[in-house]
């Protein structure tokens, strides 16, 4: 379960002006749900996700991930969260197997659990053939799958994926989204953001549209798809209809 309540993140820009990157965002994601966080560049999606991942401290408001508060128990949040952002990289000189093993060690898994989870993820993500090749020599799609494996190594109940299909080709994106379906069916709570609306239109249970740091629309997949022109039209209507800041 992901519950976001009145989350705010303000900071000073280089010119001294106050930037309200996230300005009172509230929404929730239930277990077994994929929720799409939609917004244009600079809308505040990435900052919201970084706040949820405890990489940033909120100015006000809070959130709970799998029952753990991001303010009072950030370690608990990180133990139960898998996070993948658009800018997350993989170490060039380590192999996918090593990346998964070290991630497991950092999450406190013992040797047996690491071996079992690594083998399972390498198989699921189709990385067995390149498991011993340095990540620097992998394709961008393979690297993204390694990143996803790293986020899943501790089998977290909640997942936050910031533009996970960005570097992937059509096939790679399809496989990754299929994996999300599997995870959703297994009861995981998944929050995903992307620019490629068509990829998630049929997969998400609900959508949250964010613009200038505020939630300007949210509803079920059925509600958004019922609009003439589908999700894309509903998205533009929400963004263009919101009050300018």
């Amino acid at each position: 379960m992901i519950e976001v309540v009145g989350l705010k993140k303000h900071f000073r820009a280089a010119d001294g002006s106050l930037v309200r990157a996230v300005d009172g965002v509230s929404f929730s994601v239930a277990p077994g749900e994929i929720v799409g966080l939609l917004g244009a560049n600079g809308a505040g999606k990435t900052t919201t996700m970084r706040l949820l991942a405890t990489l940033l401290a909120p100015t006000a408001g809070t959130a709970r991930i799998a029952g753990y508060d991001i303010l009072t128990d950030p370690i608990g949040v990180r133990r139960h969260l898998g996070y993948l952002s658009a800018t997350t990289g993989v170490p060039d000189r380590l192999t996918p197997r090593e990346v998964l093993e070290f991630a497991g060690r950092l999450h406190g898994l013992d040797r047996a659990a690491i071996a079992e989870r690594s083998a399972s993820l390498l198989h699921t993500l189709g990385l067995e053939s390149c498991a011993s090749r340095p990540c620097g020599r992998l394709s961008s799609g393979q690297r993204q799958r390694v990143s996803l494996g790293r986020a899943l190594v501790h089998d977290p109940p909640a997942l936050i994926l910031d533009e996970p299909t960005n570097a992937l080709d059509v096939v790679g994106a399809r496989d990754l989204l299929a994996l999300l379906d599997t995870l959703r069916d297994a009861g995981r709570t998944i929050l995903v953001s992307t620019h490629r609306l068509h990829e998630i239109e049929r997969r998400c249970c609900r959508f949250v549209v964010i613009h200038a740091g505020r939630v300007v629309a949210q509803g079920t997949q059925e509600e958004f798809s019922a609009e003439p022109g589908g999700l894309e039209r509903a998205f533009f209507a929400a963004v263009e209809g919101s009050a300018p800041t």
């Binding site: 280089a14 990489l55 800018t87 950092l106």
Partner: protein
């Protein structure tokens, strides 16, 4: 829990360490810089310097080796005296120090003697007085006026040879006089000293001059290359990870930022130690080759056992240096957004390292206090172990150095963790985003980097101002304090910090509680001044360094010559305000941040206290100034205000003025020789304890 390790924190630290180490050793650049470069560099340096070293040694030998001398005599007894001196010369020499290689004494006429001296055919000319031989055999003293050849006037070796020759003739005359008087020869030699053991392996004179300098140069190079060993791994470990986008993968694990930094430290420390080992091995092998190339008969003068012991001490103390270097590199790179920014920031660190290491080579620099200074201390202790010129036990110096290294490492790792968690550095875009004139974004308090930058700028400005400031403290004090204020004003405006939160000029608590704190602060400051003087006297006696004594005398002159308020303004009020604004305002706020954890607060207090001590420039007073700075830092953080610090600092500086006004100059000087009276320092101790307790209690209530 099933599937989980028992100690997840240690597992995370070890996980980060082994992950980073694996990455480092798979990087050819790191291996080259840390391991292969030292192995190749020392032989190259040694080859280049061997020729110079051999020439220098040969030159030193030539300068110190005995030389033949030609002395011409003129005057009535020239013939007889020449024969007599030659007879003495033939019977002397051998084991006498400074004895010439060969002595030629020839009688001649004065004009010919002068000609021979001018043309270089004689080294010295002695015109004998009347009845010289008679005087020598009588009971009077014969004075010989020696003129040296123009080209040899400054030849100390020639002067030593002639003095030794004169002494030999005098000894012969003494024995003749004793025999003539019918006295026993034992009269001239009442005692003979003989050692039961033979002197072992004394260094040859030439090597005595070269050995300490060569050791010092190698130690500085070793310190520099060891520190450089941490340079690239630290950049790769933090700034590189930020650039590659992999740092997030660590920050979203359950490991705390400090544990991540600890893991990274272990990896960088391991590489720095490998670099140290490679350097030490290369130094040892190069030294072995160089020793074989020494001129014949020249010995190192150090036994195998002593050499092993010295090498072990050097390695042990340099392990501390490697730890501090690794932690310093990590702290600096943590505050950088990119590898380029990290490289720029690390360059001054390496320069600072070289400067500190080099400062340990200044004659007279050593002892327990220097042993605790990072980089200078390790080089100093290693040099003392090898050269053996200190009165302090090496084991004590080693212990102090290692303890100080551990504390410095701890502080630096805390600083690295604080910098790594800085959101602005992590997520506000690359360092190249702003133009060259772009000002930093407004902040409540300065960043640690801004704290360091201002500290360095002020220290440089202070140093330059000494070149133009007159010795008179009436002008020197305002100039030095002005250097601080000017730096501070420029930086505070440029960097747009919140001046109230940075400088904390607020009344501490309620009217009555704040007033109580200020009174307690005054007691604490004055008490510390007296205790500091007591301890300084106990440690060093009444002797101060020349510069400190000059400064003290100048200030006493100022106090006696100028109106009373000038002294109070310059010695008490101005430094209390300017230095508190600078050290406890800017620097402490920069290092502690807005809401510091206990560890970060302690680190911040210690670092700004070290800067405060360095700013005062007198080595013997640095421990006292460091303690004062630490107490004032604690006071500022505890009370949330700069005012108690200003009052305590003013009271501290006012103590000598009050003593001077109450007791007079004579009694003040007597006290500086005899030490602080017992009742005075006991009262000071009580004042410190009471002041500390009151401030602690009042600030706890404030919270």
């Amino acid at each position: 829990m099933s599937g989980m390790v028992r100690h997840p924190r240690w597992a995370a630290i070890r996980g980060v360490a082994s992950r980073d180490l694996l990455e480092f050793i798979r990087d050819r650049r790191t291996l080259f810089v840390t391991l292969l470069m030292p192995m190749a560099m020392y032989p190259i340096l040694a080859l280049a310097s061997t020729l110079g070293l051999r020439t220098a040694l040969a030159d030193l030998d030539a300068k110190q080796a005995p030389q033949p001398i030609v002395v011409v005599l003129s005057g009535a007894d020239a013939e007889a005296m020449a024969q007599r001196i030659m007879k003495v010369a033939r019977g002397s020499g051998g084991s006498i120090p400074d004895w010439p290689a060969m002595v030629t004494v020839e009688p001649t006429r004065p004009w010919e003697a002068k000609h021979r001296l001018d043309t270089g055919n004689a080294d010295a000319w002695i015109h004998l007085p009347q009845s010289a031989a008679e005087t020598l055999d009588g009971q009077e003293t014969l004075t010989l006026n020696v003129r040296l050849a123009k080209a040899r006037v400054n030849d100390t070796r020639l002067r030593r040879h002639i003095r030794t020759l004169g002494e030999a003739v005098a000894e012969d005359a003494r024995r003749r006089r004793v025999a003539a008087a019918g006295l026993p020869e034992g009269l001239l030699e009442p005692i003979i000293v003989r050692f039961a053991d033979k002197e072992v392996a004394a260094r040859t004179p030439a090597l005595d001059g070269v050995f300490p300098s060569a050791v010092a140069a190698v130690l500085v190079l070793l310190a520099l290359l060891t520190a450089t060993g941490g340079f690239y791994p630290a950049i790769d470990a933090i700034a590189g990870e930020k650039e590659r986008g992999t740092i997030e993968t660590l920050l979203i694990t359950p490991a705390s930022t400090l544990d991540i930094v600890r893991g990274k430290f272990l990896a960088v420390f391991a590489v720095t130690l490998m670099s140290l080992a490679a350097n030490a091995l290369s130094v040892a092998l190069t030294a072995a080759v160089l020793l074989r190339l020494l001129p014949d008969g020249m010995e190192l003068g150090i036994s195998r056992h002593a050499a092993v012991s010295c090498a072990a001490t050097t390695l042990a103390v340099f392990v501390g240096l490697a730890a501090v270097a690794a932690a310093a590199c990590l702290a600096v790179t943590s505050a950088a957004r990119s590898t380029k920014e990290a490289q720029n920031a690390l360059t001054p660190v390496i320069l600072l390292t070289s400067g500190l290491a080099g400062s340990a080579l200044v004659p007279g620099v050593g002892g327990p206090f220097v042993a605790m200074v990072p980089f200078a201390g390790q080089v100093s202790v290693a040099r003392e172990a090898l050269v053996g010129e200190t009165d302090w036990p090496i084991s004590l110096l080693l212990l102090l150095s290692l303890t100080a290294s551990a504390i410095a490492t701890w502080i630096l790792l805390r600083a690295a963790a604080a910098a790594l968690a800085d959101e602005e550095v992590l997520f506000r875009g690359p360092d190249s985003a702003g133009s060259i004139t772009a000002r930093p974004a407004p902040r409540d308090v300065p960043t640690p980097m801004q704290g360091f930058a201002v500290g360095l700028a002020a220290l440089a400005l202070l140093w330059y101002s000494q070149g133009v400031a007159p010795a008179d403290p009436t002008f020197a004090i305002p100039i030095s304090q002005g250097a601080l204020l000017a730096t501070l004003a420029v930086m505070a405006v440029w960097q747009r910090v919140n001046r109230w939160r940075t400088f904390r000029i607020v009344w501490p608590g309620s009217v009555s509680r704040g007033g109580l704190m200020l009174v307690a602060a005054a007691f604490l400051g004055a008490g510390l001044a007296v205790l500091g003087a007591t301890l300084l006297h106990a440690a060093r006696g009444p002797e101060l360094s020349g510069s400190a004594r000059d400064m003290a005398e100048q200030i006493v002159k100022l106090l006696l010559a100028r109106p009373w308020w000038v002294g109070w303004l310059l010695v008490v009020i101005l430094p209390a305000i300017c230095e508190e604004l600078f050290f406890r305002g800017w620097m402490l706020s920069a290092f502690a941040g807005k809401r510091p954890s206990r560890g970060r607060a302690v680190s911040a207090v210690l670092v700004q206290a070290a800067a405060f001590a360095a700013f005062h420039l007198f080595p013997e007073k640095m421990p006292q100034t460091f303690v004062l700075g630490a107490v004032l830092g604690w006071m500022t953080l505890a009370t949330g205000s700069l005012l108690p610090g200003i009052v305590a600092h003013a009271a501290h500086n006012a103590v000598p003025l009050v003593f001077l006004a109450v007791a007079g100059r004579e009694r003040l000087e007597q006290a500086s020789v005899a030490g602080v009276p017992v009742q005075t320092w006991v009262s000071a101790l009580v004042a410190v304890v009471v002041g500390f307790a009151v401030i602690r209690a009042a600030s706890t209530k404030r919270e």
